[in-house]
Each structure stands twice: as C-alpha cells, then as structure tokens.
Symmetry: C2
C-alpha cells in the first residue's frame, strides 16, 4: 500500500446503522466489523484515518430538501443532541486514535463544501480508500469527486453498504467502469 | 412547468455520440431527437437552456486521469481542434438560440468547478431538468450536486443514455430513491 494513502470512513453512525432510525441503511450494520478491522490496520500502518460524519443542525436548516420531511417526522436523527439509535455517534467497535481526523458534512460527497480536499493535499495524499455507507449516495459521490480531483480511488467493497444487494452490485460496477479500483478488506 | 426552471443538456457532443470515437456511449445517439425536441420546447416556453460541454486541452492536462490513456490512444477527442466523429460539436439537430448558455466542464458533474451554480442563482432558478449523457456519470453527478445545492432535480429519462439498458435502469432508480423526479420528454 502506498505511503501517500488515506482511509475514509463515511457516515458509519448510529442514525444510519440502527433499524429504529428513519435513515437506517439495511446492510450497513453488518459492515461494522470489516470497517473496524481496516481502521485498526490503517492505524498499524500509520495511514491517516478520516471519519466523515453527518451532523445536522437542530432546526434542520442544513438537512437535504429531499430528506427533510422524513428527518423531521422520524425524530430528527443525527443532530448533536440525538441519542441512542438516532445519534450521530460512530459504533463502539471503532477504536479511534488521537490523530484521526473528523470531517462534518451535510450532503452526500465527503468533498462537498468540506475541508477534506484541503487536508488531503496538505498531507500529500494520492490514493484514498473509501469505506462506509451508503454505496449509491455518499461512497459514490465521493468516488466521482475524488476522481475529478485526480485522486486514485480504491473502494473497499465489503466495507460499503446499500439497501439491497442489487443496488450494491450495480453501483460497484459503475464505479469500476469509471476507473475506481475495487478491493476487499482482506486486501487492505 | 415552473417559471423558475432551466434545461441542462450535458455532453451531447460528437465525441460521445459517434461510434468511431473511443468515448462513444452506446445509447446516446438515439436520444438526439428527444433532446432536440425538449430544447425546442424550452425555447418556446422561454426556459433558459444550458449546453454543458466537455472541451479538453490539446496537451491533455485537463483530461481525467482514469480516461487519459484511452483519450490519447483514441485520437484525442473533444478538443477545440477535434474534427468529425471526435469533435466537441453538438449534433446539427440541436437548434440553438442566441440566449442559450454554454458551460465548459472537464469532469463529470456540470457543477464541478464551473460557473453553472453562479448563473442559476442569478437567474433565480429553482428546478433543473437534466438531459444528456451519460446517465451513470455526468447526469448522476450533476443530480447529486444539484440536490446538494437545494435545486429540485427532474431527470428526463428518454433524453439520457448509458452503455446498456441495465445501467440506465439502475441509475434512474437510484436517482429516484434520493429524491429526483423522473419524467419522460412528452411530459416536459
């Protein structure tokens, strides 16, 4: 693995993982062990780890328009005061280091109006490994923005998740077609 | 149709339409009549039309890294001096008005490092109608960025194209799931 690599972990938060949340992604929770494993490996190899998390404002002023109704009626998950299954916390299986980065985003791509590109450039990162949820939305948008910004993109397939296996496969295939490398967590 | 709407026509250029080009999208050419029809309707209704086109520099300094080899070996399509099947021209079936906008992009999303959002905001546009190619790459990236920027997104399905019907269907479905409205050109 290249020294100028970073691991990105997107939206692996209770509000997306737990079935009591209106924003739950069906297959996300089962990827927690694989994600935890690559996080540990990245720490061992001194590869920078970025937790890119959704945190919305209490008044909903920064929630996607297309999601606002579901969010409001579903108990306003993923705010700083959300608790339990609706909380913005990463799962307890993720062991964090003091040097890990946290990036807050309000949209799909980890690059969309965030400081991610700025920090990656400062660190001299050339290749980013994508993990987290959901494959069709946040992983894919980040993949396309990453390619657009000339990063090499590697998607760790079994660390990404969708609402169905069919959606997962179609999206992995499209990302492969556009030039992303697809690997499994055992190859990381 | 709302008065504060715009029609976006993405990458409908010879270098993506013609089978002699290395960047040809299999199903793009057959969508030319439907695209031409909505362009005419938009003009009749005084809806602003944006042609978002790929034009690369001759030295390839702005070609996507994942596409550069194919581009170079395939005769460097979509530059200002490319001709015939490799040219950056829109098809002759498209009748343009003097007030149409042209936006040049070098990546997938029509919003990525372009002036599109700036102009749409100035015009007070709230809803954008997406047409062009390819559905999985440029249409979809523009859809996600558009939703991220709080535009209402309407994808005109029969004006968009992919390399296979399977890819087309899966991508239309994902965009519908994230909140885009899907219509046909006869509803425009």
């Amino acid at each position: 693995m290249a020294q100028n690599s970073a691991l990105i972990v997107i939206d692996m938060q209770n509000g997306f993982l737990e079935k009591e949340s209106p924003l739950c992604i069906a297959q996300a929770k089962q990827t927690v062990p694989a994600c935890a494993s690559v996080i540990n490996k990245a720490h061992e190899k001194n590869i920078p780890v970025f937790f890119v998390n959704r945190i919305y404002r209490e008044d909903g002023s920064d929630v996607e328009n297309t999601r606002k109704e579901v969010w409001e009626k579903g108990g306003k998950p993923l705010t700083r005061s959300s608790e339990g299954a609706l909380s913005a916390q990463n799962p307890p299986e993720f062991i964090k280091n003091v040097n890990d980065y946290e990036i807050i985003k309000q949209r799909f791509s980890a690059f969309f109006q965030t400081e991610l590109d700025m920090i990656l450039r400062r660190l001299g990162i050339k290749t980013i490994y994508l993990t987290g949820t959901t494959t069709p939305n946040c992983i894919r948008s980040t993949c396309y923005d990453g390619i657009s910004l000339d990063y090499n993109i590697v998607v760790i397939e079994d660390c990404c998740s969708s609402n169905s296996l069919e959606i997962q496969k179609a999206n992995i295939n499209d990302m492969k077609n556009i030039g992303a490398k697809i690997i499994s967590s055992s190859d990381f």
